[in-house]
Symmetry: C2
Subunit: 527 residues, 2 copies
């Protein structure tokens, strides 16, 4: 539909990385599940698209190509409008327009044409004079980096390399790599991915013109790249059942069945009960070092080409999900060995850094040890919030909402359609007779929890600097774009925050406010 | 088969709580997935059964009633022997015999008849004179409590109430409770469970004769009590497909299909991507307070009946998975209100304690606050290891093994059948050309990680005592039965360790050794 020039909104139960092409085509996303840091919300912020996530009233019926929202049923092609600020969903085509600031950033308007943009730019230049924190952006592709630069980002704090593997021309190679039975076979497919990854990084480096670029090695569990286990099970059951019904399978169908069974067997091998706590992050790079090698080669070959052109580039290679200094050391040694080979091949002079995400409580607690092997830390506060609270970000939205605003939600079905006069839930008919007190005042995935996650960050900052005086410290979780969290990052002395491109202006302002607020507090104390 | 007097070994891909009846009937368990603290291993230790968990060579073909183990295929009824100490599996019926000590404990032999038992008892009495730590056992039913007492346990440190709901006569009521649409309906089924739970607790109290009994409120996510999502999806697909094939459904089949679809809809509602980090623990008790109320009523009614008999009883009610003091307060208030009502009804004098598990990093970091509302802490080190490391205990065995003994495992398929001469994996044919260094020296689920999890425990112990001087501190994770971990618990000053009944003698000895080792260290320092 998008290719035909139509405007599209993607409506899903929840999105996952394999939706990335649909998300790219859509102008906005509406999901039934998830919250502030669910996949849909994070990608939307990064792409600068509108998103309403975790709208429990939405019921997606994929097989019928319809969506039921409360009492209304919409079918494919019907009009729908969504408001990402309020979470409202409208069953009609409402007129919308981009702000002038965005139009200038996107090059659709010139700064001279927009007084609003000039006010915006002047105002933020005042903030820049005051702030101490550097502001970076989370960007995976040159387009995002371009927007980020337009908004004033001073580097990329997080480039998620996995998003590159979901592109239409790459996912089949990625799948073959995962399904390989030998390292040789795996390396053969990785070699096909190498030039594509290298081109991605070249694009990013050029866009960032010498500003630092932090690239994270592959992070998600491998089954995210394969078809879903339960869908395969159902497909196989259907083919088998058709066979039982004496409708004999053609040779082609029999082959298909055999192929699906083989695929399922491999998917079963990779299946995990809690993938968030499974074989992912540096655990992948350690058990399959050839993946790390390919990525490091792509990062360094691209950097060497930039260096050859006489331009400045200092790539920062980031190892995800480290919990033990031994993991960091194993990956660092592998990175150094590969990187130094590439630099020698190119015969250029090039500096690069190797560091890690601090996103597990154990990493925070042993940060003093980890800093012996890591040249920078970037706090991955999404994952750290998950593990510190024991809250899955994909599942917890339901009870976090309940914890926050108990009076507005049904304790039985967790729906928000409660008749306040009769205290009856309109969705499930439940009569609300009792409400627990307010358990939590804010969503810890949106605003940093200073007492828990913040305690761990403070300790890691302190211990990290104690071990390595010039260690670079930043944050690249979603909190990097939240003003209250940015203030905390300023207070504990981080060097930079990194946020989605569209949040860069907010971050610049919040970083300045943090300085002023703390001056004020200090002078109040002095009195 | 067990009912016919035959000896049975349960072989499963992995076990889950709904296998509890099969586990009860079996003499031992063999699973393909899992590790030291997987469901099968934990239940085996508690029941005193033999278990080999995470034997990757095992391939269970449920539909064919066969098991492939390496090159051998066994069918239902074939003989199999397993060695829980070595992990070896034998395709034959090997003769086995219980130790004399176990025979005496189980009442099958008298102490006078066994010199070995008398040596055992004398030796451990020496340990008892030296140790400072109290030793409790994790026990859910009177039989386990009986064994624990026989081995010298001085209380129950963890009674998991959910195991009681999986019994054959209870699971249908539990399921109806979960599927209820209104609180009234839910309470109706909870009322049916109340007398059953009460009888469980009466049995435990009588067995423990005045020793403390810590009872944990419902902990697992509710979908564990329902049929599995993917199995329902496959069943529905099969019925639908049969229908498409023009084999018309009978009225009965159509009803069945409708029922399964309704069930699936509810299972989908409860489905979570990472159930370990989802709607469980006190999050259940807060969103569905009627569950907490029923359990507290059962705990207190049973205690009041014991008190009426003039016997001593101090139940300790434990709230699971607390991460915030507000959660603890909400549950404590509810527990106190319900408990005081029951005590008033019975007109007895009865003391009880309300405390919490410390099993999340956030709980450890904010323990000083939580201690304002909690009269005791019990460290749940299984869950705390999961969240501190970001290791799912059901999924991590594979890479933890790889991290520990890299030279013995295939980096491609993680199988252990590696030909060391040619460095070739016999399972997948992979040629091992490179091995990462040793990442980890021990399995953190078996032996407590002092640097990470231990840091958090030390802090919580310190802050907890700071807030509430007489707070009771214990541990009820699997580490409570591991000698090295027991030494650490002694060092940081816990009051007790709680372990599976069969580990109580080891724990008594290790607690004494901890005292002696630390005296030795102290005197070495003095010199």
């Amino acid at each position: 539909m998008r290719a035909n020039g139509e405007r599209v909104i993607l409506v899903r139960r929840e999105t996952s990385p394999d939706d990335i092409q649909g998300m790219d085509a859509a102008m906005g996303f509406l999901t039934a599940k998830g919250g502030m840091t669910s996949h849909a919300a994070v990608v939307a912020r990064q792409m600068g698209k509108v998103c309403v996530a975790g709208c429990e009233a939405v019921e997606v019926k994929e097989s019928q190509h319809t969506v039921k929202i409360g009492p209304v049923t919409l079918k494919e092609g019907d009009y729908l409008s969504i408001n990402g600020f309020t979470g409202q969903v409208y069953g009609q085509d409402l007129p919308v327009v981009s702000s002038e600031v965005i139009q200038v950033i996107q090059g659709k308007m010139k700064p001279q044409q927009s007084e609003k943009y000039r006010y915006f730019a002047t105002f933020l230049s005042w903030a820049d004079r005051v702030r101490r924190l550097r502001i970076r952006a989370n960007a995976d592709i040159p387009d995002q980096a371009d927007i980020a630069r337009g908004f004033g980002a001073e580097g990329i704090g997080l480039c998620r390399t996995e998003h590159m593997f979901f592109a239409e021309d790459r996912i089949p190679i990625m799948q073959k790599m995962i399904l390989s039975r030998t390292r040789e076979e795996r390396e053969q497919y990785l070699n096909k991915l190498l030039p594509l990854q290298k081109a991605d990084f070249l694009g990013l480096y050029r866009e960032m013109q010498g500003y630092p670029v932090t690239i994270r090695l592959l992070d998600p569990p491998l089954h995210e790249f394969l078809p879903r286990r339960e869908e395969l099970m159902v497909e196989i059951a259907r083919i088998e059942e058709a066979n039982n019904g004496n409708r004999t399978l053609s040779a082609q169908q029999a082959d298909l069945l055999e192929e699906k069974r083989r695929l399922l067997a491999r998917v079963e091998e990779l299946h995990e009960f809690n993938p968030m706590l499974g074989l992912r992050g540096c655990r992948l790079g350690i058990t399959m070092p050839e993946i790390t090698r390919m990525q490091v080669r792509a990062i360094l070959e691209a950097a060497c080409e930039i260096a050859r052109e006489g331009k400045k580039i200092v790539p920062e290679i980031m190892v995800p999900l480290v919990g033990m200094v031994t993991e960091m050391k194993a990956q660092k040694d592998l990175v150094r060995k590969t990187a130094d080979e590439v630099i020698k091949q190119y015969g250029v002079r090039l500096k690069y850094l190797v560091g890690t995400m601090i996103e597990l409580p154990r990493a925070a607690v042993t940060a003093g040890e980890i800093a012996k092997e890591a040249e920078f830390f970037s706090f991955g506060t999404n994952d750290m919030t998950q593990t510190t609270y024991g809250f899955s970000r994909d599942d917890a939205a339901k009870f976090i909402q309940f914890y926050m605003t108990t009076a507005d939600l049904c304790p039985n079905c967790h729906g928000s359609d409660v008749d306040k006069k009769t205290n009856t839930c309109r969705s499930c008919g439940f009569v609300i007779t009792e409400q627990p007190g307010n358990i939590i005042e804010f969503d810890p995935f949106a605003t940093l929890d200073r007492d828990g996650v913040g305690f761990l960050m403070r300790r890691a900052t302190w211990d990290g600097r104690n071990t390595r005086k010039d260690i670079k410290l930043g944050i690249c979780g979603e909190h990097g774009g939240d003003p209250a969290s940015i203030e905390f990052c300023h207070q504990i002395g981080l060097d930079y925050v990194s946020c989605s491109p569209y949040r860069v202006p907010i971050a610049r302002l919040a970083a300045a406010q943090a300085v002023l607020n703390n001056r004020k507090k200090k002078s109040e104390k002095d009195i």
